[in-house]
Symmetry: C2
Subunit: 178 residues, 2 copies
DNA sequence: CTAAGCATGTAAGGTGTTACATGATTGG
DNA sequence: CCAATCATGTAACACCTTACATGCTTAG
């Protein structure tokens, strides 16, 4: 996955929406783009320092209820962000462990295979419930930004629906194999 | 992505189908599971040595048209493979660069967003053509193994179809936004 | 007062990629 | 004969995760 640091752009993008601390960034990732993007503190903080050193962001100590380091995009940072947004999406290697296991499915019993698929199905059914809540919130908003959030959420919903259907289909096929 | 080495299990799984050299493994990955799994030489060879050192595989020099190191699963290796197959699938963090860019879509022009989606659509349309060829080959086979290959391929087909539909939908929505 | 959440980091270590390096063989 | 493919590796390096470490604040 290396080559270019994607975390860097995720951070620049989130700071483009508004100033944030490292903690805020992590929260925003988890609460809004968590279903297609993930970050952890151990990566966010060092990169924030690097972005500051290269002049892409600016740090400001803010003392409120609790003091924190709030970062803002600089002009240079904004240019970097726009440059990345306009560049073509880099296809990174896919690694789907479920499919890898399924590919070797003939080595284990059909009951185990079906259990595996049932777990996957359940996982996406639960996701759909969460998506539904988010959907209601987004639909209440009328900003331009929320439209794009909706597009990404629609992707998640379509993906989960597709996977649920595929799990059903595959479980039936496995049962017929016996 | 770290934690447990997935490459290790991919290799064990492929060796479970039959003895292979490092080169063979790379070829097999590219030609059969490439659409959901990827490996590179710089990772395969060192791990093969590690698997041999821990007694999970056995190396044999084979001199044919060109000499090569062919690896075979040991009993211990087979147990390790079965153990992994029976363990629950580990959810690894998702990172979808296209969605990340789309999420920040309000920062760039709608033309750029549409171009991005059109490229993604094209990518999956091309994939579907490739899948169709593979599908014909698999359907000719009657082994148990080929059934599982078919299941994974069906996933790929469903995924591409879903993404194409979502791209269309999203492109239309973006056009309506203008 | 105590658990949960706010807030920031460091260190260790494995994972995986890319680039480099080399040489044999086969088909056109 | 020369390009493509077979065949095996190493080195450098960035990426990313996990675990550790610390301290403050607020709500129940």
């Amino acid at each position: 996955m290396p080559k270019t640091n994607k975390t860097k752009y995720a951070i620049l993008g989130l700071l483009g929406v508004g100033p944030k601390s490292g903690y805020d960034i992590k929260k925003t990732v988890d609460n809004s783009i968590g279903f297609f993007w993930s970050e952890n503190y151990g990566h966010i903080y060092p990169i924030l320092l690097r972005l500051e050193a290269t002049g892409l962001v600016k740090k400001k100590m803010v003392t409120g209820r609790q003091s924190k380091n709030v970062y803002t995009l600089t002009r240079k940072g904004k240019e970097e962000l726009i440059g990345w947004l306009n560049a073509p999406v880099e296809k990174q290697p896919i690694r789907n462990e479920l499919l890898l296991k399924l590919f070797f499915g003939s080595k284990i019993g059909s009951r185990e295979v079906i259990e595996m698929l049932a777990a996957e199905k359940k996982y996406h059914e639960d996701l759909l419930i969460i998506y539904d809540d988010i959907l209601k919130n987004i639909k209440g908003m009328k900003s331009n930004k929320s439209r794009f959030w909706l597009f990404t959420l629609n992707f998640g919903i379509s993906r989960s629906q597709m996977i649920i259907a595929w799990c059903d289909e595959t479980m039936h096929a496995v049962k017929r194999m016996k």
